[in-house]
């Protein structure tokens, strides 16, 4: 019986939370109202009704408040809409959506790369080094292989260990050929297999917020990552 009660309570809480999100016109605490004629300049009112001066109906003003991420509420531009499957370096099979709730710093590499990738990887480590430990909890550095044939979970794990990137905030992903192509297209990363084990690819580090929306991209190697780092700090220290 007690169990039933607590379930009901939970449901109620959930429902009230949801209904709050779905209705835009109700006067929750965040909504303010303004007069279309601006009779009292930019004054806002806490309740709906009419303007005390010209008597016109007040208009609800939706505030852009950064709310904690709602489960069912992904933006149109979220990468979590991609349904492709990925293997992690730990051998788990995941969808990108399972990374939801974390700020993501994403780069595409392949482990046999001799030219740019070591520098890209170094860039990622440099960025990591400048993020305070307390922020790492809300952050994942994601390295996506563009060579799913050779970069097996085992190989990715070895690569992670070799490069001292085996903390839990590092994630390595092996996809399918089509999944990788699709993901690269979302990031606007270009790549081409030149020969087995060698690819041309663009060097782009992308930052996603916890809803999976692209917030910042930095292209090029060994470039100044000040903006990237600032973006990451902004996203991970908000709450």
């Amino acid at each position: 019986m007690r169990n039933l009660k607590s379930t009901l309570l939970l449901l109620l809480i959930l429902l009230s939370g949801l209904s709050c999100k779905n209705t835009t016109e109700t006067s929750n605490d965040l909504t303010t109202y303004y007069c279309p004629m601006k009779c009292e300049d930019n004054k806002t009112y806490k309740t709906s009704g009419s303007c005390p001066i010209c008597k016109m109906d007040l208009i609800a003003h939706k505030q852009a408040v950064s709310e904690p991420l709602n489960e069912s509420d992904l933006s149109d531009e979220s990468i979590f809409h991609l349904s492709s499957l990925w293997n992690t370096e730990k051998g788990e099979s995941i969808q990108l959506e399972e990374l939801k709730g974390k700020t993501l710093v994403v780069v595409m590499i392949y482990t046999t790369c001799k030219a740019a990738c070591p520098r890209l990887v170094a860039d990622m480590r440099n960025i990591e080094a400048q993020i305070p430990k307390s922020n790492l909890e809300n952050l994942r550095f994601v390295l996506v292989s563009i060579d799913p044939k050779n970069d097996t979970p085992k190989r990715l794990k070895e690569f992670a260990l070799e490069n001292k990137m085996d903390g839990k905030h590092w994630v390595f992903l092996q996809g399918t050929e089509s999944g990788v192509r699709e993901f690269a297209n979302v990031l606007a990363v270009k790549y081409k297999e030149i020969s087995p084990l060698d690819f041309s690819h663009s060097n782009i580090i992308s930052v996603f917020n916890m809803g999976g929306e692209l917030i910042h991209q930095q292209e090029g190697l060994g470039v100044d990552h000040k903006e990237t780092i600032q973006t990451i700090l902004d996203l991970t220290t908000k709450n």
């Binding site: 030219a115 699709e182 690269a184 990363v189 270009k190 030149i194 060698d198 041309s200 663009s202």
Partner: protein, 232 residues
Amino acid sequence: MVLIKGGTYTPLYGRDSLKVTVSDFKMDVYPVTHEQFLEFIKKTPKWKRSTIKKLFADKNYLIDWKSDVEIGAKQSLKAPITNVSWFVAKDYCKTQGKRLPTIDEWEYVAMANKTLPDARPLKTYNEYILSWYEKPKTFNNEIGSTFKNYWGVYDLHGLVWEWTLDFNSVLISGESRKDVDNDSNLFCGSAAIGASDLMNYAAFMRYAIRGSVKAKYALKTLGFRCVKEMSN
């Protein structure tokens, strides 16, 4: 679909071995039409103009359609579908048990004229394509209104550009046009990329388009067709 017998050829942009080998495959005879796409859209609500996620298509997606399930007044059911993004084109082919052609496959078939599998050395071949580039609004023409090529495929040149599966493997950026060689910062291994036949301006245009579009772009001049791999 018609069978395309595989072979080896040198594309405009070679890999380090220059030659590219294409296996046997089947290709749609025509680009996908408004009519076919309409059928698909009716069954796949997530790709309707009003419901598609911005991640998968820009604002030009099906922009001339009257509604989610009606094509525009000036559009013909038999004309090729355009204003579609790569994501949707890819899914269309997948739904049919097919896929988009790779650049190598598409170019391989498109080398042909009416009688030869590789007509690229012919002046008339290049002139035909270039004269198409000068014609306005060929995307309004109906499928089959150009020539049937050596393989039995229509409209590779003369109606619309077409999406390819790996269009994003074309590594041309604004930077690579500059004299200074600083794009080595952008692309790993970029020295391996170069045009093998600079005379082939017509093909150069196609690669330039591929190098400049993004997967969510929906352009009025860009349609697609599908291919199918041969099961052994």
